[in-house]
């Protein structure tokens, strides 16, 4: 069988500078400005475009068109966003490459059968990327540069056959070449309108006149020349900081950023065939030190719905000491987790339900508030049990007369006319049981235990010290 032909999907992010700052879909108008003494609009979000604001306009003029927020471009945020997205894309293909400054290349030819065809994979990527807060342009072509050219022309083409590439490529404008301004002007000076015009000219002459680079670009785009790409190496751990467009005062407003981080994380985990058990969130404040909180899971997961639910429970309980400027998510430990969902295995649906339940409780009440109950072979009543992880098996019981309730601490009883009192004088039933022990760990006891009943009919487990003051205590309730 022939290996599937290479097929390149270029994912272009024309609005990346805005989206990296979380401004892409904000309801208010926002623009990025060039800064300097004559600041101009670099680009505006949808709301800004609706006001009639266009790139190149003076920001002063833009202000006159409506209420507007002006932000400064942050290239490091753009780079971080692109890298995070590249790691996320690893779930669709083993080969992702950065196409700076605002695009990614994915070799999808080998993934088609796995994802159910070209339309399905394109749809999955588009929906996933949109959920992360980006408005992508997707084009598919048999060559990487071909795909990039279509994206630059804002054409969402899907071409799979190298032989049919030349026609559509020829109709693209010259700007997609991405050559220097001087070269571009010279080409226009020759009377060329699109790549087709260029391709009709003699190749050697063009190379002599404009240098080998321009010719090579078209050769690579058409698949006449190899075009090796550098694979993107995803980091070993997940760490991402998301700057919030505005300072956030309540946890509810964090939900959106948190959801985006979780989606990035789960894509990253899927790409690595892994899940995680521990998520550490950091809240970056203006003046205070960063505060953190953790989300611990019983079983590794990479299900965004499940993690989102747990996070929401956790966020509802969180008090913010100060407004938040950025949200951070760190995952250090990845646990191998194959693609089979637990829920598909027989009997596993109930198990998954049970684990999800435990995790919801732990997220809200804390891990130490969700425990199992275990037995310890120790004579001392207070040492004969312990709190263990839920579901853990422990020692066997000696099955002697014991009350169903044990008091956290034995409570001393008042004695009247020689009889201990507990809502009335206690009447001892049956013979006592002497319990001694504990000399080995420094907490020795020596007691005579009795079952006792008060006038109301309540039955208690009481003891009298064998040594010292010979005081009476109640230690349990036979309920």
């Amino acid at each position: 069988m022939r290996a599937p032909a290479s097929l390149w999907l270029c994912l272009g992010l024309p609005a990346l500078p805005l989206e990296a700052l979380g401004l892409g879909e904000t309801p208010g108008a926002s623009v990025l400005s060039t800064g300097g003494h004559d600041p101009r609009v670099l680009m505006g979000n949808r709301a800004a475009c609706a006001l009639g604001i266009i790139p190149g306009m003076r920001t002063g003029a833009a202000h006159a068109l409506g209420s507007l927020e002006v932000h400064t471009r942050c290239e490091s945020a753009e780079r971080a966003a692109l890298h995070a997205l590249a790691a996320w894309c690893g779930q669709f293909t083993s080969f992702v490459s950065l196409a700076f400054p605002d695009g990614l290349l994915l070799e999808v030819g080998k993934s088609l059968s796995l994802f159910g065809g070209i339309e399905a994979i394109r749809r999955s990527i588009r929906t996933g990327v949109a959920a992360l807060g980006y408005q992508p342009i997707l084009a598919i072509a048999p060559t990487p540069l071909g795909a990039i050219f279509f994206v630059r022309a804002c054409q969402e083409s899907c071409l799979t056959d190298l032989r049919q590439l030349r026609g559509p490529l020829g109709r693209l404008p010259l700007e997609v070449l991405g050559v220097d301004e001087g070269v571009a002007e010279a080409l226009v000076g020759l009377g060329l309108r699109d790549l087709g015009d260029y391709l009709r000219l003699p190749r050697d002459g063009m190379a002599r006149r404009f240098g080998p680079d321009v010719v090579s670009r078209l050769d690579r785009a058409l698949g006449r020349q190899p075009d090796p790409r550098v694979p993107f190496e995803p980091p070993a751990r997940f760490e991402r900081v998301l700057d919030l467009p505005h300072e956030v005062y309540d946890t509810e407003a964090l939900q959106f950023a948190a959801r985006r981080l979780l989606l990035e994380l789960t894509g990253f985990l899927r790409a690595r065939g892994a899940g995680t058990r521990l998520l550490v969130f950091g809240l970056v404040h203006r003046d205070r030190r960063e505060s953190t909180f953790r989300l611990e899971l019983v079983e590794p997961s990479r299900d965004p719905e499940h993690l989102g639910q747990l996070l929401q429970i956790r966020l509802e309980r969180l008090n913010l000491p100060e407004p938040i400027r950025a949200l951070k998510l760190m995952v250090d430990e990845l646990c191998p987790q194959d693609g089979i969902s637990l829920a598909l295995l027989p009997g596993a649906k109930a198990r998954a339900q049970s684990i999800a339940f435990l995790e919801r409780l732990r997220a809200r009440l804390g891990a130490e508030a969700v425990r199992g109950l275990g037995l310890v072979p120790d004579h001392r009543p207070e040492a004969a049990w312990y709190l263990c992880p839920p579901g853990e098996a422990s020692a066997l019981s000696d099955r002697r007369r014991r009350p169903l309730w044990l008091l956290a601490e034995p409570r001393v009883l008042v004695v009247q006319k020689g009889r201990p009192l507990l809502r009335g004088p206690l009447e001892l039933i049956g013979r006592g049981e002497r319990i001694e022990g504990g000399w080995w760990d420094g907490r020795p006891i020596a007691r005579d235990y009795f079952i006792a009943r008060n006038p109301a009919g309540s039955r208690y487990w009481v003891f009298r010290e064998i040594e010292g003051d010979r005081r009476w205590f109640v230690h349990g309730i036979f309920d």
């Binding site: 422990s394 009350p403 008091l407 208690y460």
Partner: protein, 208 residues
Amino acid sequence: MGLETVLRDPRVWRFGEVPATGTETVPTGFAELDALLPGRGWPVGALTEILAECEGIGVLRLVMPALARLCRSERWLAWIAPPHIPYAPALAAHGVDLTRVLMIGPVEGPAERFWAVEQSLRAGACSAVLAWLPHADWRGLRRLQLAAEAGQSCGLVFRPLAAHREASPAALRLVLEPSGSRTAVRIIKCRSGAGAKPLTLDLPGPDL
């Protein structure tokens, strides 16, 4: 709608007899008590309220046989913020499989407690949920009743005797009182059930 149809509706009470209901139940382990209960046991997927004034008269022993039976499923027996420590050796002696026991707590305040109870009832991951709710109101209990239905869980709510004066949406309400060395059980409400015939039970004592 014919009369027969109306009478078969589980919401209709028929005095003096205990018709079998469609709801699932778990035997209480006490034949005399089962005989008085619709479905011959504790209702599953519903709330049962157990009211008692004093401790130490057998409230827990009353539910132990059912808990031991419910442990045979894979689901949890959730104890939510109990007033004392459920003593593991005694639970094991009553036949409870400790690996199914889930201790939830401490919880901060009534709202947190209520949340944990509702979650546990609704999750479908607990065969029984034991909760101590001295101050629950009708609306809160109604939510818990619905949660128990959704999660097919046996909700056991322990409350002081004074609560019997308040209306309750629980499917079953019992009052426990000491009666010599035995315990008197009075059914004050049950779905499509019998009248309030009091019953005195010998609960397995400490000498089991």
